[in-house]
């Protein structure tokens, strides 16, 4: 991860999983964990985008606090003691991914992102061999109106990475979320077909940041749906380095 360490920034020391580590003041626990090559699952967080805090996969235990804390949204404090993995946390993460798999139609075998999906690989890493909840099987459309890109609502997990990259990096603000609860969905402008959007610049950043097979390039064969994510930290760094 390319991060510039400004000399004047003072650093903090804290303990993660029993190991003493240091990080820059203002860093979140997630950054500290990943700077020290430790594992923490995430889906809605993406370096270069603002914090959303919706998937709740990065919850950690902090000594002295009865509640769990989202590592992506909690700043490190001096002397903090963080536990990133425990039986309880593992159980909760499994259930969150099971809930996602049950919410919409995640049929990996016929999905264009089969083998390149963060949700699929996370399910495997967490040891999920079946979903214990009833499947919702909602009836959702596939928006094929754009000539180069496609939005398949059946695969969407509402992590809003696409909404954030469109607003914060591209600046078009074409995408947003309509409705509430399980009926919420990604829209373009006034919920028009993507191809008819008058604000979309067709830059493709949303496709690249989408963790699943919801946003894909058209015409790419099944299983070859690789996505380039490195552009985002690079863009942010370039902006900071050359304001």
């Amino acid at each position: 991860m390319i991060t510039q360490v400004a000399s004047s920034v003072e650093s903090l020391t804290l303990r993660i999983n029993g190991k003493d580590v240091s990080c820059r003041a203002g860093d979140t626990i997630l950054q500290a964990v990943r700077d020290n090559d430790m594992e923490l699952p995430t889906l809605c967080w993406l370096e270069g985008l603002t914090v959303w805090g919706g998937c709740r996969l990065c919850m950690v235990e902090i000594a002295g606090s009865p509640k769990l804390h989202a590592a992506c949204a909690t700043a490190c404090q001096e002397g903090m003691e963080v536990q990133t993995d425990s039986d309880r946390l593992h159980r909760y993460r499994r259930m969150i991914v099971e809930l996602l798999l049950a919410e919409r139609n995640h049929i990996c075998s016929v999905c264009v992102s089969n083998g390149h999906c963060e949700l699929q690989s996370l399910a495997q890493k967490l040891g999920i061999d079946h979903v214990r909840f009833a499947y919702r099987n909602p009836q959702l459309e596939v928006d094929n109106s754009h000539d180069r890109m496609r939005l398949d609502h059946n695969r969407c997990i509402l992590c809003t990475r696409c909404v954030r990259v469109c607003a914060e990096v591209e600046g078009a603000r074409t995408k947003d979320v309509k409705g509430r609860g399980v009926l919420a969905a990604i829209i373009h402008d006034l919920d028009q077909p993507w191809g008819e959007s008058e604000t979309c610049t067709s830059c493709g950043k949303c496709v690249n940041v989408c963790p699943t097979g919801a946003l894909t390039h058209r015409g790419v064969a099944v299983g070859e749906m690789t996505k380039k994510l490195a552009f985002l930290p690079y863009l942010t760094l370039m902006r900071e380095a050359n304001p």
């Binding site: 607003a167 603000r173 074409t174 947003d176 309509k178 509430r180 829209i187 402008d189 919920d191």
Partner: protein
Amino acid sequence: MLHAPPVTAPPTSDKRWKIVETVMRRNDFEPEALIESLHSVQQSFGYLDEPSMRWVAGALHVPLSKVYAVATFYHFFSLKPQGRHTCVVCLGTACYIKGGRELLDEVERHYHVQEGKTTEDGELSVMVARCIGACGLAPTTVLDGQVLGRKTSPQLLAAIDEKLQRKVTS
């Protein structure tokens, strides 16, 4: 930051747009006034259609997607025209345990309409409210803005028929 006056003229020459424009001007076209403006559109025209959302977006410099996202987030805004008459059945806790659910089922069966929808002839919209704060009169319904307390199914159906009939006979 001085806001330029609304870029585009209102969608139609209808004078009710003036009401909406005054609400926006009172908040000097701040993006923050989005919900207030949508409220005034709904009160003036009964629902939010595409031209009105597009015009409000332009006037407040708010992305189109955000106007639609806000309009569909809140239960109060409707994107479809309302029926000439509206029947809101309260399903707050007090009304629910005093038979609100049965009242709603009765109305839905009698007028062949689903909650949240309008009858084909556009006469009657049936909606559910979470709580309208008149729990002392549970189960309560609101017929065209008028609160009816402690009504049994036959009484409620009669009141609605009367509203509809009056529409037909007058």
